[in-house]
């Protein structure tokens, strides 16, 4: 039995019929074909699926699409502005904040909120703030550097 929902994703409004059990991350990836948001663990731990929902960073594998009816969502695809990278994306590039890149979309979505909420985030704040995002490659060092440098540059935008 489908339910019709309407969501605004990266500035575009979509109306779709979804099965209630459809998770938001699958709705974004399979229905809207926005495959930048990754699925890492499926058990709410890794943060690869992090998106912004009505201004909050959330794990989209742990929400139903029907819960998001009427919401405004931003995914990693919505950060760049007309082809120029968001300052947080640029900082990840400049500081080599990624290796395989799998965790990166979720990491960047969490980091942009972190810096928006706390523009003066210390290294400790950054490490704690990214607790819900796991990276199996980098050892986090350059991720923390990237977020710190974006924060310094006023990176929340």
């Amino acid at each position: 039995m489908g339910i019709t929902i309407s969501v605004e994703v990266n500035g575009t409004t979509y109306e779709r019929e979804v099965e209630p059990r459809t998770l938001l991350v699958h709705f974004l990836r399979e229905e809207l074909r926005l495959t930048g948001t990754n699925v890492g663990c499926e058990t709410s731990l890794c943060g690869a699926c992090t998106v912004h929902l009505d201004g909050l960073a959330v794990k989209s594998c742990t929400q139903l699409a029907v819960q998001a009816d009427g919401a405004k969502i931003t995914t990693i695809e919505g950060l760049a502005d007309n082809g120029s990278l968001h300052p947080m994306q640029q900082a990840f590039w400049d500081e080599h904040g990624l290796q395989c890149g799998y965790c990166t979309p979720g990491m960047i979505m969490a980091a942009t909120k972190l810096v928006e909420d706390n523009p003066d985030a210390s290294e400790d704040d950054i490490r704690h703030g990214l607790k819900g995002n796991l990276c199996r490659c980098t050892g986090y060092q350059n991720i923390v550097k990237a977020v710190a440098s974006a924060a310094k540059a006023g990176g929340a935008r």
Partner: protein
């Protein structure tokens, strides 16, 4: 991984939620979904009907009157951690909420869902027991206040009846002279509490006039170490008095699993109970 199929209803009011509950057997409320959805994805829970209460503004928010703070059941962990009223008059609840998982989980998870789920490794149950909080439950015919100490019945089981919704949690304000602390040993992978110690201490004229110590994670339901609390009364709460009082700690039936044996959990309770009492004492001054 995704849940088995279910019917979805969005409640428009508390009464509507209770009507929906009455007209569907096998229905469950959906609040933040951060305990229920993971369970449903693992097919450990397969409710036929979900009643989404997530938009009921009447269940959200923190308000105060003279002696107490009323926290709506749908208030998120992030909102608890950020609350000025809690930080001022009941800091232990804000402190414990800030230690739950990570920012994304705290943005969605709610206090009502946390205690209704009654996971022994959660952080809020023992804090509410130590505080002597009152949990407000509502059915179509009656409002029923339940003391936190009576709310938790067994592993993942509470005294919430099949026809009830939790509306709010009422917490007494901690007066001057009362210090509080919540300390947690977290599971390195999940972040849940292997042992969480909640301590409250009131010191008047240099001696302890009230004390409470309770633990998460150690037993199937929050464990109030009343022997320790009583042994603290009248003492100066100095390190020696705390050590003496901690000798009264007796943990019956500690939980055991592949990560931590019952013996280890009991040892953690000993160490962290002591540290929590000392921290609460230092803050009472």
């Amino acid at each position: 991984m995704f849940p088995s199929a279910f019917d979805y209803h969005r409640a428009s009011s508390i009464d509507d939620a209770l009507d929906l509950l009455a007209s569907h057997s096998e229905a469950k409320f959906l609040a933040g979904g951060h305990s229920l959805i993971p369970m449903m994805k693992l097919r450990l829970a397969e409710p036929g009907v979900l009643i989404d209460i997530g938009r009921l503004d009447e269940l959200k928010g923190i308000s105060e009157d003279n002696g107490s703070i009323r926290v709506g059941s749908l208030t998120t962990h992030a909102a608890l951690a950020a609350s000025e009223a809690l930080r001022r008059d009941c800091p232990i609840l804000a402190e414990a909420a800030a230690l739950i998982a990570d920012p994304q989980v705290r943005n969605k998870g709610t206090i009502g869902g946390n205690i209704a789920h009654a996971d022994p490794a959660s952080d809020l149950p023992a804090v509410l027991v130590a505080l002597g909080a009152t949990i407000h439950l509502k059915s179509k015919s009656a409002d029923r206040p339940v003391a936190a100490a009576d709310f938790f019945v067994d592993l993942l089981a509470t005294s919430l009846a099949d026809n009830e919704i939790m509306t709010a949690i009422e917490i007494p304000k901690l007066g001057a002279g009362t210090g509080s602390a919540y300390l947690k040993v977290e599971h390195p992978a999940s972040g849940y509490a292997v042992c969480g110690a909640a301590a409250l201490i009131t010191i008047a004229n240099g001696s302890v006039s009230a004390a409470k110590l309770a633990f998460n994670g150690v037993t199937a339901i929050p464990f109030a170490a009343d022997g320790v609390s009583e042994a603290l009364l009248g003492s100066d709460a100095g390190d020696e008095a705390v050590d003496r009082a901690m000798a009264a700690l007796a943990v019956a039936d500690p939980m055991s699993d592949s990560y931590a044996s019952g013996e280890y959990r009991t040892a953690l309770a000993r160490a962290y109970g002591k540290r929590a009492i000392r921290a609460a004492r230092d803050r009472a001054a």
